[in-house]
Amino acid sequence: MFGAGGGTTSYREVEETDVIFLWGANARENHPIFFHHVLKGIHNGARLYAVDPRRTSSAQWADQWLGLNIGTDIALANAMAREIIHAGLANQAFIERATTGFEDYRRCVERYTLELAERETGVPAEVIREAAHSYARADRAIICWTLGITEHHNATDNVFALINLALLTGHVGKYGSGVNPLRGQNNVQGGGDMGAIPNRMVGFQDWTTEPAVRAKFEKAWGVPLKPQYGWNVTEMFGAAERGELHALYAIGENPAQAEADQHRTVKLLTELDHLVVQDIFLTATARLAHVVLPASSSWCECEGTVVNSERRVQRLKKALEPPGNARDDLWIISELARRMGHDWGQPSAEEIWNEVRALAPIFAGMSYERLERAGGLQWPCYDENHPGELYLHSRLWHDPVEGRPAPFSVVEHAPPVEQPDAEYPFMLTTGRRLDSYNTGVQTGGYTSPLRRGETADISPEDADALGIMNGDPVRVTSRRGSVVAPAHIDRSLRPGLVFMTFHFQDEVKVNTLTIDETDPQSGTAEFKACAVRLEPIRSADAVGSAADAASRSGG
């Protein structure tokens, strides 16, 4: 937020806050131990608001469920903002001292009346009003979000809409108030922090705009750096399509199954001149590769660090010897460098980390020894005496504000690219279930009593209308593809909504349905919304194949 990509709050603050918004986040299933902290908050008297098209297991704990139509988050957030402003609940002193762009923002949200928002979002005006007042009046309030916000064609705008609410009410930069994206993978935060994003070096440093940063890295690495950003994954596939990208080196990533619009992705991967995959599994992507480099498991067969959703750098330690010829990622990369004529030796994970500390001030104070002793430290941590920061942006409460004030962003509601129509009357949204994870490569390895394989989850009303019983095979078809899965009647869904996961891609290729319509700023695809039609399958032949798919994925 505001220049550094990390949640502003810590988990413990959720236990002591007054209002918690889980916005497009089903933490009960997807971040279960974070939800323990939410539950402590609830038991301590906090009000929980769940904003989600589905009445998820998190929403069942909420004081209020705001069951909005898919992709109408900005309409909802802007209407809350208008209500807060009109009710005189905006934090004027904070806005004047610590923010910029309020007037433009105020003009933008003025259009979003409660009535308009009710029409767009499907959430009753009175519920929006109550949520707005509750958030604005709270002493402390935290907004958390996940992929329900970011897996949309306008992901970045969605995030800005939520940050705007925090700025409007001053719910950021103080204990118990803030905004927090819950990270979906154990090192999503760390990947960005370490510069595995196309537009920042480690520690969110921009070498294209700041000559001193560029000079620092050029000096440390002894090579000139081009002052231009790289490509994110989505842009890479676009470049491959244009013939500008010829080779791909995928480390611990399974794009053949994880990316939206699978048919297109596989075609592009197959057409590459050279595909190298470094993974612990022979994944679907690895099967397409020219070279496969067997790696060891980063979390138990190697040393290293990850960074979690509260910006805590944590140590990974080696507990197992890797199998066969599997090698540590560091060894593989160093060896590749050597064969390309750069002898880096064989640096240890700690040596690499110390280079990170030397180049990125926000990690400078985090020695391995301190990380070990403290059970992880939260960035920024500028020197060995710095305890790390529980929350970010306390500077916004200094008078005058230290550094740049935080800008409001003018964002307008833009519905999902695909809307239901006569041919594709349902909206498909995708997500995870408690016991499984992403494309199932890891969770497929253990037997879960909760697992039922892929299903097409539909509302009781739609099941009635289509004459579908629980377990009946249904064909789900989008403009891009078609899959068959058993129906699962789910009371948490409203009519018109279909939910599926992408955990069982070998059996049910849900990502052949999803739309590769990406957010121009973050490159995230709109996994959360595409139009589909549902057809019950009656013929004996198709029933056999669907039941077969279900039983194979059930293990």
Partner: protein
């Protein structure tokens, strides 16, 4: 972003120290701490079974009772806060007698073979559970679960009554051996309000018939259980056990002297739970989380607790490498 001083966190008011006497020694302890805290601070060992730092005390096992001057009854040290001027005896004849009784009752009715420390306590307190007679034979499957409050069978004078019953194995992750259950409530607390808030477990029945049960005693896969394993993590007797551990124990291959425990971070979501990998012969045999880490406080979810198998599922031809696993190739997920 700029460096700032430590954020101002609202702190509770500083706690005063209170002075009390423990076993004739004057000691100081922070207001609000328990007698057990004060004793442990003094290096005094007090036996506990139902107490755990991370759970609300429920005061049911009575192993930790101490004598407080002026109190009619013995008090549970795990939950009784210290008071100024309190005179505590932790090892008086009355305390020792009570602990001996508690241990005898438990050891005569429950299988304590996998309860750490209890053998030493039985010896220390001179407990002789065998004096209650030979243990009654195991109850038939499902019998104890069917007992209704208010309907008690008369005890058989030839035997010591027991809770011994067949082991419940109804899923691939947990084993429930309620013949080892002392009804300490820890699993109920961990599953309920203290952490998981799933409420899949509670105590059913009354008196000696009381037992831990799912709703209507259904099997675990039919219950509300979400397999976080947080009940297993707090169980003090091994009544609840990871199936991976139980299988090793049944096969006679469980050997803690050959195990290492390594802290690392869960490979799944971005919460960053610390996992303690218990490894024997280069194979993860169970996963726990440290009680004293603020993120988990010992708790995990099903993925962190059980989702590790993929790193050691090996094709059969690789098993000669001393790696074990269940035979599935690592790439077959």
């Amino acid at each position: 972003m700029t460096a700032t001083a430590l954020p101002l966190i609202p702190l509770r008011p500083a706690r005063r120290m209170v002075e009390l006497t423990i076993d004739g020694e004057t000691v100081q302890a922070p207001e609000g701490s328990t007698i057990l805290d004060a004793c442990r601070h003094q290096g005094k060992e007090i036996p506990t079974l139902c107490y755990l730092d991370t759970l609300h005390p429920v005061n049911v096992c009575r192993a930790c009772v101490v004598e407080v001057e002026g109190s009619r009854v013995l008090v549970p040290s795990c939950s009784r806060p210290v008071e100024a001027g309190m005179v505590v005896k932790t090892d008086s004849e009355r305390v020792r007698h009570s602990r001996k009784m508690v241990l005898e009752f438990l050891a005569s009715s429950v299988d304590l073979s996998t309860t750490p420390d209890v053998a030493g306590w039985l010896e220390d307190y001179g407990a002789r559970p065998e004096r209650y007679g030979p243990p009654a034979p195991p109850a038939p499957p499902g019998f104890r679960d069917s007992l209704q409050p208010g309907h008690h069978a008369p005890p058989d004078p030839d035997y010591a009554a027991t809770v011994i019953q067949p082991v419940k194995v109804d899923n691939e992750l947990y084993v429930r051996d309620y013949g080892k259950c002392i009804l300490c409530y820890k699993c109920v607390e961990a599953c309920g309000k203290d952490y998981q808030n799933t409420y899949a477990l509670t105590v059913a029945g009354r008196g000696f018939d009381a037992r831990i049960s799912t709703e209507f005693a259904v099997q675990l896969p039919e219950s509300a259980c979400v397999y976080c394993g947080n009940c297993i993590a707090v169980c003090p007797t091994g009544a609840l056990m990871f199936k991976s551990e139980r299988d090793h124990r049944d096969a006679g291959t469980w050997d803690e002297s050959r195990q290492t425990v390594t802290d690392t971070i869960c490979p799944y979501c971005g919460v960053g739970c610390t996992l303690e990998l218990h490894v024997q012969d280069n194979e993860i045999v169970k996963v726990t989380s440290p009680l004293d880490h603020d993120i988990t406080r010992g708790n995990l979810c099903i993925k962190g607790r059980f989702g590790w198998r993929y790193v050691q599922n090996r094709p059969p031809d690789a098993r000669g490498n001393g790696r074990g696993g269940d035979g599935r190739p690592r790439g077959s997920a």
